[in-house]
């Protein structure tokens, strides 16, 4: 399967993230890079600008801007040309999916098909081919897995933001090792420590962020929340929010609740859960009898 990678306004974090895929060498045997900014490719970027044929999957990284000229050609023209050729258009990273960090504070910047949650019209004709793979950066397994499924001719079920449900139907809370603390509403957390829930004080967005970070561990080892840092919600259309390290609250009540949970029911349940003061959760478990 022939892949063409275009970079818009980007830190290249997603291109680098792909290099962390442990089986990259084997995986690559099934794919051919017409162009990738870091990996050996059949064409130079100059040749891509001049025009080539045969792109099957167009992969776009970075925030889109109508004014962007990468080398000589407007970026928009490149997307139109290769988007029309390709069977699938895959955006990698939250910048390409929704606008992300590089869209902050600038007019006229967005993801390829969305500005935040709002669909944009620029590439409307290509929308039906699009698959969004947000993340800051993307998890390499999500990209290689999606491409492998596309190569196998699978139809990927997508959510309303065109994210594959296989990877984004879950929340980051799913698989979090701190769930006992979440259940009893205990945020006895210190950064870097392995215990305590970070939802109540430390800004953790895992309960309302769609992603597989705690199901598919980074480098096969770890995730932010397992390691002691709150989930920053990097796969969501409103990333980045302000104040990532503190939980925004209204008189002590988290302003944002786990996805799908009604506020009244949550508060009722939280009131009951908090009533059980379970001593073992208030000091490091290794010191517990």
């Amino acid at each position: 399967m022939r892949l063409l990678w275009l970079s818009a306004l980007t830190c290249n974090g997603n291109a680098h993230s792909l290099l962390n895929y442990p089986n990259l060498r084997n995986w690559q045997k099934d794919f051919e890079w017409l162009y990738h900014p870091l990996l050996p490719s059949r064409y130079t970027f100059k040749e891509i600008e001049e025009g080539i044929e045969g792109c099957e999957v167009l992969i776009v990284e970075g925030t889109f801007s109508e004014e962007l000229v990468k080398y000589r050609q407007p970026f928009k023209a490149l997307v139109e040309r290769y988007g029309a050729q390709a069977r699938h258009i895959v955006t990698v990273g939250t910048c390409a999916a929704f606008g992300g960090i590089f869209a902050q504070g600038e007019e006229g910047r967005s993801g390829l098909f969305f500005r935040g949650e709002e669909p944009t019209e620029t590439f409307e004709a290509l929308r039906s081919k699009s698959i969004n793979l947000p993340g800051c950066p993307i998890q390499p397994e999500v990209l290689v897995g999606t491409l492998a499924l596309l190569k196998a001719g699978e139809t990927l079920p997508l959510d309303r933001l065109r994210r594959p449900k296989y990877y984004y139907a879950y929340t980051v809370h799913n698989g979090c090792t701190r769930n006992e603390y979440f259940e009893y509403k205990i945020d006895e957390h210190r950064f870097g420590s392995l215990e305590g829930c970070m939802f109540y004080e430390h800004g953790c967005q895992g309960t309302f962020t769609h992603g597989s970070c705690n199901k598919i561990l980074w480098n096969g080892l770890n995730s932010k929340t397992r390691n002691g840092q709150p989930c920053m919600g990097c796969t969501e259309p409103d990333f980045p929010r302000m104040g990532l390290w503190t939980t925004q609250k209204h008189m002590g009540i988290p302003a944002r609740l786990p996805v799908g949970v009604p506020r009244r029911a949550y508060l009722s349940l939280a009131g009951i859960a908090k009533a059980f003061r379970i001593e073992r959760f208030y000091k490091p478990l290794m010191e517990e009898e």
């Binding site: 209204h250 002590g252 009244r264 508060l267 009131g271 009951i272 908090k274």
Partner: protein, 201 residues
Amino acid sequence: MKKKQPGEKKERRRLEIITGALKLFARKGFYATTIPDIARSIGMSVGNLYNYFSSKELLAQAIIRHISAQLGAKIRVVNESDLSSREKIEKIVTIYFETAQKEPEMIDFFLRIYLSNREVFREGCEGMICVNEFVTEIMIFFDDGVARGELRNQDFFSAFGLFMGYLGGMVFLAGEAILPKPLEAYVDEISTNIYRALKAE
């Protein structure tokens, strides 16, 4: 005529016990009132009453849950209305004072038995479990007010204590016949005070 379901009858009897017990507790005090007293007051056998509540402690816990649910349901209506936070405060104060006047034994139980005899509620009513429905509605009131920019974002208990402590104190003064005016005469001023203390700057 609709035939009463057995569960319905049981629920009605349960409510009779709660109401009867509330009246006796208010008149004679919690410790001086016995289960046989309560049974006699509602014309029920002691044995049958024990089928509903196996101890006076469990009955007391059911009563506080009942009061919390009643008040909670009334405040929920206010929360679900389109009123401003200022207007909601007035409604909540009115509900609280009306309950204190029409069903004085309810607030009386809360102030004189629930708050004063914690040993009765230690097991089964940990934390705020037994007043959960009421507290949840107050939380939702605060939460909405802050989200709409009408109330100042502050510590929950600072606000909760100010609101509920104030109302409880006034009802206590009314109960002791110290207040020169009837409770409802204070609604406006008290609502203003609470609003001033809670409003966004």
